[in-house]
Subunit: 259 residues, 4 copies
């Protein structure tokens, strides 16, 4: 049985010429940011520069969250057994699922339901009430809201502020903000967490929900690399890694220099 | 047996305050590029802007290489069996090893041997001859040189040009270029490939060789995401993926607009 | 925040004494088969010997299926890039999903729906018709029926025959056989494949559907080990593995000696 | 570039006929044990029955070791994030490396060095002294000796006893026992652990050291399945799994019934 031909629209390879979505890869290097290149490879076209900056901010937001996330434990735990770096990263990625990182995807679907109603003429505030009631009725938690450590996630504020400054807001962000407002008004405030903010931004940029945990994995790979390197440099093999007993001993709080 | 305390210097987490290497994460967002943030999380300090641009160019260089790399087959093959995206990415990462992506690490070690001799006063040209002879004598291929498709890898030229423009060259790049020159003079030219160019740049930036395949995985995750999304959108489940019969049907060659 | 105590009922560890589900592990060794031990660790008690034999037959049935399954490609593809054995096995496991190996789980759920109706007094034949109509109406394929190579899967016959001989049949096998009969009578025969037969046996033994692909992975790990060892012994690194061009050159057909 | 044909000697597939190393798979089912089938698929021929029993005992020995091994933490940690079973197993496998499970491979290489000297006429006792001195001189721990919990590993005794009873001992077991005796005589007894015993048995059976951690992964997959099922049944998602605070609450110690 001969296999049929098939096709890919991502990258063309010819001797000494690599083109991603039609652009020469060597010309992209140094001229577009990595965030723009990520957008290009996934969407087929370069974004406008403001969207590129938002992409980068989203990746920066996800780059690390210390030793407590289960995916970071997974990467460090693999390292303590002697796994090579790529296996540590794979182990990290395998711990990014529905309950860790997955809220981005679930929240994108929630906001898409809301945005669709907004598109039909309902107000964001009314839609927010419906979505909250729906999730409550079905016994689900609102994905993208609440955090076990942060009552007011600084990453969310910053990301939505940037989206506004860069002119990249749309109905998904509007619904996310309406939900936040409705929860605050209800006396049970539940802040938009970074997963929810990323979900709103990704959805307004037109990304498919299926890709959501990929962005998290991509950005967090840098964090896992840092943790694996630190594990190997500072700890003995085959230790039991207790996330509770870890103290921070890195640089003291410092201001970002003007740039 | 009580576990001893241990420490991490990467990220501090307090309610509503996340600091990566001492900087507030929300302040980093929108102010530093992702490449700068990657450098920060791995090295402990922000790079100067030129180095940040080089980091981004390096990540862009690795973002995709079409359907033929074994790691891309691995990601697509997982997708065709119905794996979720994170498992497809993990499968991709597990195919990044000594023979695929691993040349960066091996080349970094080779160039480190060379740079050390240059530091002791030998000329780069003399060192290049020694390294070539050593590898030949031990029956190894020169890691970072030669490519099964490209006789003159456009990504390598571009990356070294950028490093020069940005003032980020050092003895490792010098040794890499001396080896290239020696090979060309020998009548058996073997071009510096993208792995070799990345190795030279990473080494001159002071990165540990152990981290090398992590950068490749990080950047290529974007490519794997694009291929997995395409696989799911265009192909039926459980197909045999023959890399040989794939045609490119994406955008025609196009010029990068002035930016 | 102190973590609460938690408990596990699988294995107790004390110095020089390891007990799996209450039995000393060293006493189990040599006295129970591996299939019996698998049953014990998963279910909490030893099976009767006939069930142990069925467990072993089920594992033997899944041990290998040549070079064409995508999980075997995944393991070999990792090997060709230089991955260590454990990463090759992990890559194999990551390709066991809904469309490959996953039919066991789906079929277990289908048969459970049928067995529940049989338990309420309907005949297996009537239930089979309902299930076939339901799946057709919802546009799904019948999981566990049909195979791209085998029109009459020898493993299925053998497994059900053994189950009968060993007195380990129940309503799930009855429903599976009724579906097979109904399909044959319909003029569109679709044989019970090995996934379906394993599903019927596992379900009648009382295993949870969620465990289904674990048995496949466990047994097939042996096959992946054989393929990885062969890949390393016979092939060069970084080859493109085309499953279509593989010929078999192992031992000629031979009879199993009387044992 | 057309790919060359290649060949595999593991399994032949024809419509309705699957042959593993020449034997019909359906005939193997119910007639050979899983341990014999594992030997067959890896070695190309069926073992004599005693060796099959030893294979099964070796797999039983590795089936579980409670919640403390890092690979079990890895599997449970993936489960608590919502990973599907196959990803949990893959995560477990990725934590089987040099420092966990890897002692089997290292010990096989050590014993092979010893067996080779025994084959040249040296006594096992003399060889043991040399190997101990060599490892000490190079600053390495003796792989396969010592355990953080067990001062006298019951699995090792049982496995070597079985090997003797089954007539499956050879020079590797002799060297392992000579090392044990030499260590005991030195006043610093360090017992042969289960990894060492498995290494000795596998080596005397003629298995390649490269396969060693595969057997561990294969057998332990059953344990990981039990732990993942228990995690999902008894615990909430996204918990921090502290191996130290786990109590055993399974069946009380019980005698294995006469079989």
């Amino acid at each position: 049985m001969a296999e049929k031909e098939w096709a890919s629209a991502v990258t063309s390879i010819a001797p000494n010429e690599i083109r991603v979505r039609g652009y020469r890869l060597d010309e992209l290097m140094g001229r577009v940011s990595f965030g723009e290149a990520v957008y290009l490879v996934l969407r087929g076209d370069l974004p406008r520069p403001a969207v590129g900056r938002l992409m980068e901010a989203m990746l920066v937001a996800s780059i690390d969250h210390g030793v407590t996330p289960p995916s970071t434990l997974s990467a460090r735990n693999a390292a303590t057994t002697g796994a090579p770096l790529n296996a540590c990263i794979a182990a990290g990625a395998l711990a990014v699922n529905r309950h860790h990182g997955g809220a981005v995807e679930d929240c994108m679907r929630l906001l898409a339901r809301g945005a669709s109603r907004v598109g039909s003429g309902e107000s964001a505030a009314a839609v927010a009430d419906v979505l909250i009631a729906d999730e409550k009725a079905s016994g689900r938690r609102l994905p993208g809201f609440g955090h076990r450590v942060h009552t007011d996630d600084p990453r969310s504020h910053r990301l939505l502020t940037l989206a506004r400054e860069l002119g990249a807001t749309g109905p998904h962000i509007a619904v996310a903000e309406a939900i936040t407002a409705a929860l605050a008004a209800s006396g049970k405030p539940l802040p938009l967490n970074v997963d929810g903010a990323i979900a709103a931004v990704l959805a307004d940029l037109g990304f498919a929900a299926e890709l959501a945990n990929g962005f998290f994995i991509l950005a967090r790979t840098a964090g896992w690399m840092a943790h694996v390197a630190e594990e190997l440099a500072r700890e003995k093999p085959m230790r039991r890694i207790d996330q509770q007993t870890c103290a921070y001993d890195g640089p003291a709080p410092r201001e970002l220099p003007a740039r």
